[in-house]
Symmetry: C2
Subunit: 97 residues, 2 copies
């Protein structure tokens, strides 16, 4: 299993509605992309200073399915339409679990 | 459940042995810290440019257990002894799953 993690830091101007729309967009992905084996995501809880604002953990059977996800129209629409407009910083890792 | 994610970028000077020791240190944590409900971790697979080098996903029953973990001697020993000497960058998020 391949685990794909992203952490996002929103711009200071990002509104709560925009952040919620991005989260809803993530939660809709498994319904649109069959290669997603699991999704957990959510806003940071504010427990530690300097944390990013949002994280998503997505599981795939392997790198090929992850690549399908990367290029999938539903993923591209989320990134280009809901994330990029309010994105300040992005960190990611893909690792084997 | 609280999910704690960290992403680490190692210094250029970090050796493979040092990186493997840090990973082994993470994998030993559940045996030392009862509050850890789940751990998945590993080095980045090199599938995307700019990714961090390592990620760990740890699950806890809630914030109180996460705080026990944060201050636990086994965690402190890992951070101070094996991670900090080779750490270039760290990103984290804690969110509800």
């Amino acid at each position: 299993m391949l685990r794909h993690i992203i952490m996002l830091r929103w711009t200071p101007e990002a509104t709560e509605d925009q952040k919620k729309a991005a989260e809803a967009g993530f939660r809709a992905l498994p319904g649109a992309i069959a290669q997603i084996r699991g999704l957990a995501c959510g806003p940071d809880l504010g427990l530690s200073t300097g944390a990013h604002d949002f994280a998503a953990v997505l599981d795939f059977d392997g790198a090929d399915d992850w690549r399908v996800y990367q290029g999938h129209p539903a993923h591209r629409a989320l990134v280009d339409g809901l994330i990029r407009p309010i994105l300040d910083e992005r960190a990611s890792v893909q690792f084997d679990v």
